[in-house]
Subunit: 107 residues, 2 copies
DNA sequence: AAAAGATACCTTGACAGGCGAGGTATCTTG
DNA sequence: CAAGATACCTCGCCTGTCAAGGTATCTTTT
């Protein structure tokens, strides 16, 4: 059974930023990489993914540009900004704290 | 700064069950105990708490009864059911897995 | 050559959980 | 007597997820 989306909520943006912190990427690939790394136990549905992109863009955490592939489907690439890296760091820290706090309650 | 509610989401029911697994309790006290244990970094807003109770009751994970205090405000107590204990165990297991998976993505 | 499947993008509308704001009633303390 | 703590509750908004639908291109199979 895969991870309930309510347990992921609050981490999707961070997960996307984590992916982009390594290299520019595009929606489809980000999803594939996440599924590969988690043995398909975490999957961002594409509607979720794209609404996250809109959010991140709006907040200035990522920028976007179209790829120049000559063949195949067009790709919209995303790039993490400096502000995005900062947010990523903060999100990770908050996640660490949240983990700890929740664990302290679940005996 | 306290923990963002989106990071808690998916764990509120589990947190309440954890509290009830130790002893019968009531809304106000559960909240106080959570705040004490987490130095007020986790707080369930009472609207959140009561909607969670409704949910848990509906699913048969808790039962409820009115306290018989002679003085003071009336208290509605909650008691975890056998089914509730099972759900609690499963939720904890899923949380462990989710933690691990998310950590594997946040480098 | 047509069909099927992978790659790759996108929008709409419904749904669920969290919570701000509002309410009620009792008791204790200054 | 007012203020604050205790203790319960509901309504309606907001936000993130996602099922369902769509478009377009390329590759593989039939």
């Amino acid at each position: 059974m895969s991870i309930a989306s309510d347990l992921l909520r609050g981490n999707t943006d961070t997960i996307i930023l984590a992916s982009l912190a390594e290299h520019d990427s595009y929606g489809y690939l980000i999803n594939k990489e996440i599924m590969a790394k988690t043995e398909a136990q975490i999957e961002l549905k594409d509607a979720t993914l794209y609404s996250a992109f809109r959010r991140l863009e709006k907040e200035g955490l990522v920028t976007t540009y179209w790829g120049d592939e000559e063949v195949g489907a067009r790709r919209r690439y995303y790039s993490i900004t400096e502000k995005g890296r900062e947010a990523y760091g903060q999100n990770k820290a908050e996640w660490q704290k949240a983990k700890q706090m929740i664990d302290s309650l679940l005996v």
